[in-house]
């Protein structure tokens, strides 16, 4: 199976839900026009990142009326976008939804909320406690939001549990301007390479651009292919929408060539954790 994914490297307006929904509709229609099957937006794409106390104002359940047009569009194209989820428990979560066939099929709550240095996510958001693994028409799919991608144990576990398509909406600020590329780009490159090369997954990494309160997000969205490496690479700093092709035969081919997943034995990890707990 082959399908087309649109990487929407956008610049959301901080705290402006109405503007951002409109921008998502425009982007999604554009992707639909060129025949994309799936569009992926960055982390918190519907709200902006540096929300602080606006978090309370913009939190919504995924099935809220404001997102109705996106649900409608998802009858024709699957949509993954970031938002502040108002949980049934009333807690705001840094989440991403996956809409398809006119409905919300899955919501992932970011598990690892950076709260150090320039980051203060746990000050405003609740913490997600579950890996997102769900079946879609694209195969077994997983979502990691930004920092989640840097936790190899979770990403490896998702691969071991069958994930073939990993969606990675992100809001990674630019930093480390000393080299040919940004230091953060090198870090992301390692994570993408690891997930595709060792674990045989396609990764759709979509990072935002623009500035929120002095923090600049660098873009550099990418499609990482288990056989072809980085097959789509968006420019730094520019808002763009790019298309990539996923050929699912590459997953089996890579996993046959380097059968990490076939070798993987989570029982070893489980025994180690149990021994540790009992010692």
């Amino acid at each position: 199976m082959t399908y087309t994914v649109a990487l929407a490297q956008v610049n959301p307006a901080c705290g402006d839900l109405e503007y951002n929904v409109e921008m998502h509709v425009t982007q999604t229609e554009q992707a639909l026009d060129v025949g994309a099957d799936l569009i992926v937006f960055p982390e918190l794409s519907l709200t902006g990142y540096m929300l602080k106390d606006q978090t309370l104002d913009v939190m919504r359940p995924a099935d809220c009326p404001e997102f109705a047009r996106l649900r409608e569009l998802s009858r024709h194209i699957a949509i993954c976008a970031g938002f502040v989820e108002q949980g049934a428990d009333g807690i705001p979560y840094n989440s991403a939804f996956f809409m398809d066939a006119g409905e919300v099929r899955h919501v992932h709550r970011k598990m690892y909320l950076p709260t150090h240095g320039m980051f203060e996510e746990l000050r405003f958001f609740g913490r997600g406690g579950e890996l997102s693994i769900f079946d879609t028409r694209f195969g077994r799919t997983g979502i990691v939001i930004c920092r989640d991608l840097f936790h190899p144990l979770e990403v490896s576990t998702m691969a071991a549990l069958g994930v073939e398509l990993l969606l990675a909406p992100s809001a990674m600020p630019a930093r480390g301007f000393g080299g040919e590329e940004l230091a953060i780009e090198q870090t992301v490159g390692l994570a993408l390479g690891s997930a595709s090369t060792f674990l045989g997954m396609f990764v759709v990494y979509v990072n935002r651009v623009g500035f929120d309160d002095g923090l600049g997000f660098y873009g550099g969205s990418a499609l990482s292919d288990p056989v072809g490496g980085i097959t789509v690479s968006a420019p730094r700093f520019e808002a763009v929408q790019l298309l990539g092709t996923v050929d699912t035969s590459h997953i089996a081919r890579r996993r046959y060539q380097l059968p990490i997943r076939r070798e993987e034995d989570l029982a070893i990890v489980r025994r180690a954790l149990e021994m540790r707990r009992n010692s």
Partner: protein, 275 residues
Amino acid sequence: MTVDALALNNALIEDYLKRFVQEELHTSGFTEACIALSGGLDSALVLKLAVDALGVGHVHAIFLPYKASSAESRWDARTMFEFCGTPWQELDITSMADAYIALQPGIDRLRTGNLLARLRMAVIFDQSKKENALVVGTSNKSELLVGYSTWYGDMACGLMPIGDLYKTQVRSLARHLGLPQQVIAKPPSADLWAGQTDEGEIGVSYETLDQVLFLLVDQRCSSAEVISEGFDADLVQQVERKVQSSQFKRVPPLIAKLSQRTVGIDFLYPRDWGK
């Protein structure tokens, strides 16, 4: 001793800072920028970045000399105006400064320097209102960290495009952007009296200061670790004290918390909230 980590990819930074000026200015609701030009390198670099980012017609630069300002400053400021294609604007602050100084017999050089910086602040903010512009500041990371700047004077602004660049990095970016050599090569000076230089005032060259600051601040080394790298012990301790004692300049004023939500403590919004 040199710290290679201070080297930057200037092409990348140029692109990034121009976008920063453009987007953050627009997000703040402005299309125009106002910049006080001193004849020195920092304001020259900020002018160039702002003109490249916004277009020459959207940048209002003004030279604000005092009677003690050197002839070189005027010449260098004029060179930068010409280099960037901005129309020459000058407003002499001598009469307003001297009106106050005459009432303060015995006023010393430090107080005079602070007074001039704050008068320039008052003028540039008034000009910004006239032009419906945002004041773009010219402080660099070296001076912000050691506090070699006037609180609510030259530090007052809406954006600081080069506030995370050390002075030596400012020089490097200025060379990359092709700024006139006379502006890059001149000894940095607050130009408050004849022969004054930053390095004479701070007591160390920017090359050394920036390396010490980089190790202390960016690398989070202890002063003992910095000294073990071969830097003079007195210098390192002096720099560390300057950084600590100027912290008050880098934070908003303290507010006595009384209510459930207090400005600056738990009333938290981005700067451009609602824009």
